[in-house]
């Protein structure tokens, strides 16, 4: 499969170079919102949506920045776009699903400072993807993020019932768990060929 074909880009972002487990983007929500399965899956959806919006906008903005030769403003413009996209999602969610809005709590506005999203916008610029490739990349990254979050949440729900020394409860064991998951995802490296 050629490396710039759409399915490859999708698989690459989703499994081979999973955003959370192998490029370390979006660790904060990954550790913070993975306590419950339901919250995790919805958070995944919200992030995926913001990623799609941000990726589309970043593509357009980069076009303008290059045309005016002001690439050094890229970072500032991207972060402004992401902040607005998050605000949009927040308003929509508050209107249509107040329960979800409450359960995500502080992590919703914090999507703005989720490095996965800015990372996505930056990577697609570095790699000079065209518009469709950007969309495939954003979808893959979002799916990968959701996947990691959901697996983690499932594991942690089981872990609640396990008998663990009090010392290891909380962040330490979550990190160890993430390490094991990351080890598992390394197996996908073979897909890249």
């Amino acid at each position: 499969m050629p490396t710039d074909s759409l399915p490859f880009i999708f698989l690459n972002a989703c499994l081979i170079n999973n955003f959370v487990l192998s490029t370390f983007l979006g660790i904060c929500p990954f550790l913070g919102v993975s306590g419950k399965l339901q919250t995790a899956s919805r958070m995944g959806l919200a992030v995926m949506f913001v990623m799609l919006v941000a990726s589309t906008c970043a593509y357009g903005i980069n076009f303008v920045l290059v045309a005016f030769e002001v690439e050094y403003l890229r970072l500032i413009c991207y972060i402004a776009v992401i902040a607005s996209a998050v605000q949009l999602v927040e308003m929509l969610m508050k209107k249509y699903s107040p329960a979800l809005f409450r359960s995500l709590g502080i992590y919703l506005p914090l999507i703005t400072t989720n490095c996965a999203i800015l990372g996505l916008a930056l990577f697609q610029t570095f790699r000079e993807y065209d518009f469709l490739q950007c969309l495939a990349y954003a979808l893959g990254a979002g799916a990968g993020f959701s996947l990691a979050l959901i697996i983690m949440a499932g594991l942690r729900e089981k872990l609640e019932l396990a008998d663990m020394p009090s010392l290891a409860r909380g962040a330490a064991v979550s990190l160890m768990l993430a390490g094991v998951l990351s080890l598992a995802f390394m197996g996908f490296a073979g897909l890249g060929g």
Binding site: L21, F24, G26, L75, L167, A172, L183
Partner: protein, 210 residues
């Protein structure tokens, strides 16, 4: 004076951004595969932290409350752009090794957190001390991870081989899973120390992790 040293020291240990508050984990895990990368990342983040804390502290009276977060982010992004070009000018190799993570300092929640929670409410001197302390704490944490990972994964420190030729490196430590394991290990260690201190039982018979 006592209070000033306290403002500085709390970032190093008691409120260490990485080990205690668990902020800014992404760069900590991603670029700590060698000591030199860890050090560069720590210094770059400290620079941005000091710059943004200074500006936020000076301007906080003039920033309208409703748009303060957006303003902080723009201030931070400006300093990150400066650091980005600076590192590119100093060492292209380092720039390639750190990759997008220099630009991703913008979304390091620690920096925004300090701007919102400390710099906007305190005078310049105190904010500077706080930024220095937090930056030093962040760098210390990065070095803690970086040295363990480079030592085990490569058998070297700062590129100098430590163990003899007979040492079999553990490549897993340099790969992504190693980052998670080492950070988890440090957190366990600190939790254990904490527990031992609160229990006031130096022999610590109950405190074994496994």
């Amino acid at each position: 004076m006592k209070e000033n040293t306290d403002t500085f020291l709390k970032g190093l240990w008691r409120e260490n951004p990485v080990f205690v508050m668990l902020l800014g984990m992404c760069p900590v895990l991603a670029v700590s595969n060698s000591v030199i990368n860890a050090l560069a990342m720590g210094l770059a983040t400290t620079f941005v932290l000091i710059g943004s804390s200074t500006l936020v502290s000076l301007l906080s009276r003039f920033i309208p409350k409703q748009v303060r977060i957006a303003t902080y982010i723009v201030i931070i992004a400006t300093f990150v752009t400066v650091v980005d070009y600076l590192i590119q000018a100093i060492s292209l190799d380092l720039y390639r090794a750190l990759g997008a993570f220099i630009q991703l300092i913008v979304v390091n929640c620690m920096i925004l957190g300090r701007a919102e929670a400390f710099a906007s409410k305190n005078p310049l001197g105190k904010s500077l001390l706080d930024a220095l302390g937090m930056g030093a704490g962040f760098t210390l944490a990065l070095l803690c991870l970086g040295s363990v990972r480079e030592l085990l994964g490569n058998g070297s420190l700062l590129g100098v081989a430590i163990f003899g030729a007979g040492f079999q490196p553990w490549p897993i430590m340099i790969l992504p899973p190693g980052g998670f394991f080492v950070l988890g290990g440090w957190l366990l260690l600190f939790a254990w120390l904490q527990e031992r201190r609160t229990a006031r039982r130096p022999e610590g018979g109950l405190a074994h992790a496994d």
